[in-house]
Amino acid sequence: MRRILLGLGAAIAMLVLPGLAAAETVKVGVIGVFSGGFARWGEQFKQAIEVFQKHHGKVVNGNTIEIILRDAGGPDPAKARQLAEELILREKVQFLAGFAFTPNAMAVAELITEAKMPTVIFNAATAVITRRSPYFVRVSFTLPQVSAPIAVWAPKNGIKKVVTVVSDYAPGHDSEQTFIKVFKANGGEILESIRIPLSTTDFAPFFERVLQQKPDAMFMFGPGGPPSVAMINTWASRLKPAGIQLVTTNETQAIDLPKIGRAAIDAIGSSNFTEIIDTPLNKRLRADMTAMFGPDQVPDVATVGTYDGLQLIYMTVAKLGPRPNPDDVMKFWTSGLKWESPRGPIAIDPKERDIIQGVHLRRVKEVDGKLINVDFEIVPDVKDPWKEENK
């Protein structure tokens, strides 16, 4: 009861307070996943927001930036849409942001177009999203973007025959299609393409089929978190001893490596963010993450996505003021923006409103008893290849 009363009190305060505050407040509605089994995405959003506010404060040219968090609870498109509606109509936000999952981002496309709401995607990585509304801009990555460079590298480095294994939903399809296309164009051969339902927990039967095909490597995409950890463990126990290499995208992030353990050693990855990136901003971000949230906390893809999304919003408010016209915002966002991210220099493709960035090809190694991703090649300025294919 106490909690409910507190809740009611806070709710009333929220209704009353905006009327009292006279200074201009810029509201940014962030839709993420802050509860349930996928809460680690929300955790990254939240940590990145706090670190960013420590670095840049909450005020831009005298205007307070207020960030309003809303919980979609998981991949729940209807909920995401409802939250977006409320943020736009009730909270009267100037920007929408967030979105860990593709379906949640897709669900608000129609709405933000109608409401003319500039929306920054912090994570969701299916290529097509930014085509669904002219008010989307993405600062994370796209799956084709990280899948293509490794498909170019592999055939040149002794990996000629591959079986692809992906989770059966849009990002998985994106990843699979791009890899197959680029890999074949570079002289590789695909033996089989397997799609695994998202809810799968036992991967052994699928990997047994891979084993029978005797490929040089398995290309794999999982949904992140526990399923991806299980996939890598299954690879290590069944396929690695048979000499089948593992090629993935973001599966071996620093945040997951302790959970995967030594099984991850020698896994080849391709990502827009690697922990050893040697930029001053990355070092500062890492140091502050550890200082603020504990020694186990490391920045990950969604952390830098959120950080850069906020950089973009702060830049926009600094340039266009606290109440910008949505079309001016979109004009600004498509004016060939470039800035320094913890992951290095990034840019926004003026035509597609999607991110252009370097892609790191790396391998998991054990250095001084610690598992880390070691880059062996960095492909600079990669545009989303899917957009190039589907003009």
Partner: protein, 317 residues
Amino acid sequence: MNPAWHALPWLLAIAFYFTAGGYLSLGTSILVYILLTLSLDLALGYAGIITLGHAAFFGFGAYGAALFAIHVNADPLLGLVVATAVTAVFAVVTGMLILHTQGVTLLMLTLAIAVLLAEAANRAYKVTGGDDGLQFTMGPVLGLFRFDLWGQTAYLYTLVILFVWFVIAWKVVHSPFGRSLDGIRQSQARMRAIGTPVWWRLIAIYAISAAMAGSAGALSAQTTRFVGLNTLGLLVSGIAVVMLVLGGTRRLYGAFLGAAVYVVVQDFAAKVNPFYWMFVIGGLLMATVLFLEGGLMEVLDIGRRWLRRLLRGSDPT
């Protein structure tokens, strides 16, 4: 009960329409949940069909409406009728398979059907869009009112459909058929002994309840123009049961109270703390189950009795 009380929830719903501001889409989702909970009250509350599988019907209706809008016709009412009808047929077929069982067996079977359907939808990627869901556009209601950004059409459309279903539910519950369900819930053996065709009665109420849940699903899909696998998830079945218990079973209006309180509390709590709001919901449910056997409707009853005593000085009952 004084007939004037019956007007109260509907007047509140209409008043909400004019005062809601940006809360209308929340209002629409409350109405959808009321309809779902109401359908569960018929099956679980009145007929005693222990089920954890109502998400199957909710999702069936939702996908039915979405697929109909995409492939056949974007008219909302037509889509709603078709989605409701196919859900009822689905319920008759599955009902014939499982309704000869009772208790835990029945619970497991309803659960199994819901899980099977969810998995089938997951596998049928080409039809259902799998985990990506289906996004679609709807035509205007009656060819006149398009679904607007403010959710006004969606709210009123859902409210009207809910009212129609409420009248049907009321008629069913207070008919001789409804009385026989009361008997079936209390003792199937006795009802059989006096010549009641128990199995058919159960199938009939199961189908009516499922049709209602299918309508709720269809409304949810149509008003958000999106349907995803979560409409078939266990969580939907669970939430419906929670709302029913919260509001009070076998009261019809219990569904109104339970769904509204659940959604509003969740909305407030999740806003105040987006990380641990589930504690509030859990606490509320525990308090209700521990202290209010008849759900929140009991609070209303107490209030009404108190009011009457206040007006008349003393109350003989």
